[in-house]
Symmetry: D2
Subunit: 323 residues, 4 copies
């Protein structure tokens, strides 16, 4: 155990995602049990630069495992991209005698820590938080499971009205670069077609199905947002071959980013939060904690990459169910 750590700093950065508050609870509780104080920096790297911090107490955080978003707030920081910003952040850490730093965010957040490590030698640990589930070194990122649960609960509602009218519905879900939410939610709601950026969409097949769809049932299409696909694009393609189709579009949008975290995301937040503090106590540094093959796993920051996780099994499912 690394007995030199007395004061851990923590912050959330990049997009918020459900489960971040559960991670903050677990970090603080684990730290307290080990006699360590925890301070939370507000608004990501901005709080490090500006010295905007609050003391965290597990007794208060305990009630917030259920709360979506992040109580520390989050932001993207242009200033931290500059050396000057990082130097100010270093001053903040020194002034507050912070011995170690835990960051919850995406791959950009961890890249920031790597850059910071050039001038700051306290240990850093990262926790992957993004609804897109597109980070290597972990099966799940904080927020993905909540986002998919929100998506399917709402697509289930859309099915009610789609079936009542025998309509074609295009539902657009999040994931500009990653179809992970798209393929999962599409499979889970029994969609008639699923379109994601990782796959060459077989439009001919899709249009053929929609063209011949007998108007005696709903036809439900789940599509990821994106430049090459997206709801409007699919809609225009369909209307080319079937101009009279009774078609509606719903874009789920930011509802997928909020809401009470799902069971999986709360547990993931707790597991990763505990492991982050334990890793620091074991003198680890510049690593991301993750759950890989259902086991806790550490990945050095410089090996963490943005990674599409639509694997062979998912591609086969897409082929089987997707059009």
């Amino acid at each position: 155990m690394d007995s030199t750590i007395k004061h851990i700093g923590v912050f959330t950065s990049g997009g918020d995602s459900p489960g971040m508050n559960a991670a903050l609870y677990a970090i603080t509780k684990t730290a307290e049990v080990n006699g360590i104080n925890v301070s939370g920096f507000r608004k990501g790297y901005e709080g490090l630069i500006d010295g905007d911090l609050v003391q965290l107490k597990s007794h208060e955080l305990q009630k917030l495992t259920q709360k979506g978003g992040t109580i520390l707030k989050t932001a993207r920081s242009k200033r931290f991209l500059e050396l000057e910003g990082r130097k100010k952040a270093l001053q903040t850490l020194n002034a507050n005698k912070i011995d170690a730093l835990i960051a919850i965010g995406g791959d950009g957040t961890f890249k920031g820590l790597l850059a910071f490590s050039e001038i700051c030698d306290i240990p850093f640990v990262g926790i992957p938080g993004t609804i897109d589930n597109d980070i290597s070194g972990t099966d799940y990122t904080l927020g993905f499971d909540s986002a998919v649960n929100t998506a399917i609960e709402n697509i289930d509602k859309i099915r009610d009205t789609a079936e009542s009218h025998n309509r074609v519905f295009i539902v657009e879900v999040m994931g500009r670069d990653s179809g992970y939410i798209g393929i999962h939610s599409g499979l889970m709601v029994g969609a008639d077609a699923i379109l994601i950026p990782e796959s060459d969409t077989d439009f001919i097949n899709l249009l053929d199905k929609v063209k011949n769809y007998d108007s005696e049932d709903a036809f439900l299409i789940v599509v990821s947002e994106g430049d090459e696909i997206g709801a409007e694009f699919v809609s225009s393609k369909i209307k080319e071959v079937n101009p009279n189709v009774d078609l509606r579009i719903t874009k789920l949008g930011h509802i997928q980013r909020g809401g009470n975290p799902s069971a999986l995301d709360r547990m993931l937040g707790i597991r990763l939060g505990v492991e982050a503090v334990k890793s620091l106590l074991q003198s680890k540094k510049n690593v991301m904690v993750g759950v890989l093959n259902n086991q806790l796993h550490l990945t050095p920051f410089n090996e963490v990459v943005k990674q599409h996780q639509v694997n062979k099994e998912l591609h086969e499912l897409l082929e089987l169910f997707g059009t």
Copy 2:
């Protein structure tokens, strides 16, 4: 009691709304207890014209009070606007020995029944079903309460992410001609601004608030869809005065039309369904059943109008909370 009624026909017409299946259950159960058969016509007036009907059994419908949409499906019918279509519908009724007809739908549905009554003299009763709650003669229409519950559950999710980023969010809810969903959902989520078609929006005041919003908190705007307002219009107005604002738009869309009916809508469906059959048994005809001032109430079809229900009290609430 009108002992001549042996066979009631029922159908859902216009837009679907949660609670319609509860009404079908109550109609069928009440009819059965009175020795009356019930047949359901599919796809609104289309089913009347085409003779597309199924026998309804309360034992099966009992399990479907929780289900959104309408198991009879619904549609808008151009053919029924023509005399020829209505004549075919009359043939269907005669062929199936239908003694009375109950329609669940909006004001357009009831207008159709009025036109039909010129050639068909069996009694008609209507049940108001539309999420817009814009029909005179009833405090609530089937589906409004469910739609608002869906809206606020999702706006609550948006608040999580809005507060995490201190962002301005514009959430667009349904109600092209009626701000009833907009004002209700806006008040219920503690919105910073609420914009509905019934009110001259004080853009100067709103823009002033957004201009000076201190970026230390979220700013949540709920706006009804529409030509004069709508999310994009409000967004463009804001960006004129505050081009750098961190603003996001979410349009809730058709999720507001589906989903399991809320408590109020299930109860309303049951009350109105029972009352519809009772009214027929009491030889009423060409009336809409409603709940006015919490009491069951009948309104002749020719007095039912599309009506904005944003009353004086709501206007005062809008003034107090809306900007």
Copy 3:
């Protein structure tokens, strides 16, 4: 307008119920607009006696319309039943220059205010908050609609497993003295039998139905808690006539008291909160604000009584659907 009011005190008392926080928001916002400060006393009358108060700000409460329970906490106070306790409460009000008092609670809360009015002459206004909906002078009390929504969402889940096993299920809902939750939730889920304290249960009929239930379907009984009925009692009755019945009991319990308030309860909280402040500004005193026949309505405290609201229409529905 009563310009003498500068500082309103507010507290929640008795059982908590969803919607209380929305009322606190509306009270505070309306007061602020009228230049009035609002202080919240914690833990009901206990806070008045002990001088335990916090200043309320609408900007903070705005985010809490969605939160169940009461942020002011609530309690039953034995000390306030004694004159000495009420004298201490008076001292608190004087010391803090409280000009008017708003209490959110049940009939017991309002009786307390009546007693208090003998020694304290500032104006009191009450807001009815209880999930049991058993207070005269209002169609709805804060929390009832949320409780019923929670009940039916969970009974819907039970239906899934009941139908999978063709089991008899007895679900016990809250309402020791009042079957209002019982009859509503029973009707809304399509129960096979509904048993409430207000009605002589026709056990012979019920037992006959269960005895002959063909084990090809679920049989769902919704029963209010209580001495004369309750789940165990009904279970023992059934087992007398059908010892081999595959029967399960679930008591929903306190989940019915919590959770995010429903749309109706949030709106009710806002309407009643605004009206409470307005009433004070119009020099009203010792009245409860309610919504009667969908209109705002004032009832003098001494006319507010605990009242069963299972009316003639509900009794008829019970007879039709309840066994």
Copy 4:
């Protein structure tokens, strides 16, 4: 590919769990794509014995991925424990030319298949379905994630009322022999104490905490049902040391078994359903398909055991957060 399979039989057995219908959809869709018919036997082994079967069509099942329970119904079968029952089941399979059999259920279900394999040599494949997650060879069983999501959503509600009254609450969750639901839900809601059968509860520590709990906050205990623990037992222990404690009990009960399946359970159902058919096509027999370390995995029936899955990591979390 095993081209000899033309007709697969499928059934659900033991306790129902959310996700079973998604599995039925995936089985049927995968079979259809491979030119195979699927028949569903109703009520588990009872349907095999009685020849009670229906043809399954993916087009219909597609809409039911969202539905809890099992549309095939389920049961425990005493008759199948006897050789005579199994002989009748064999006759049914022969009469209907069933080439392969897929069973969704728990370890008892798979034991039944092993016994059946002595007289029936068509291939069997099993899919693990039980909310208790206590089967070896898979990280997750169908239904566990849904059950935990239902548990935490409702415990969150209880927190609202517990905090409003500063009460001690004991919430009992399912898992008579397995504390897997208990430890997960307890951690996820930030419980003050978690008691499960796998762990010697440190009652001295717990009682010390409750004894000194300062009545300025809620105290939330999550406990698994069971003989040695359970809500009443814990309650009596607490009242011994603190007779005046303001304590309430809620037993979540069968609501944990029903409800729309969570995202994870729908996906698990789809993955396992597809893999079950693929395994048959690859001439596998007498194996259970599971997801182990996030990969599809086959376990021979005779190696499948009922297994507590509270591993070292969970025990450490329990020690850290549980009392």
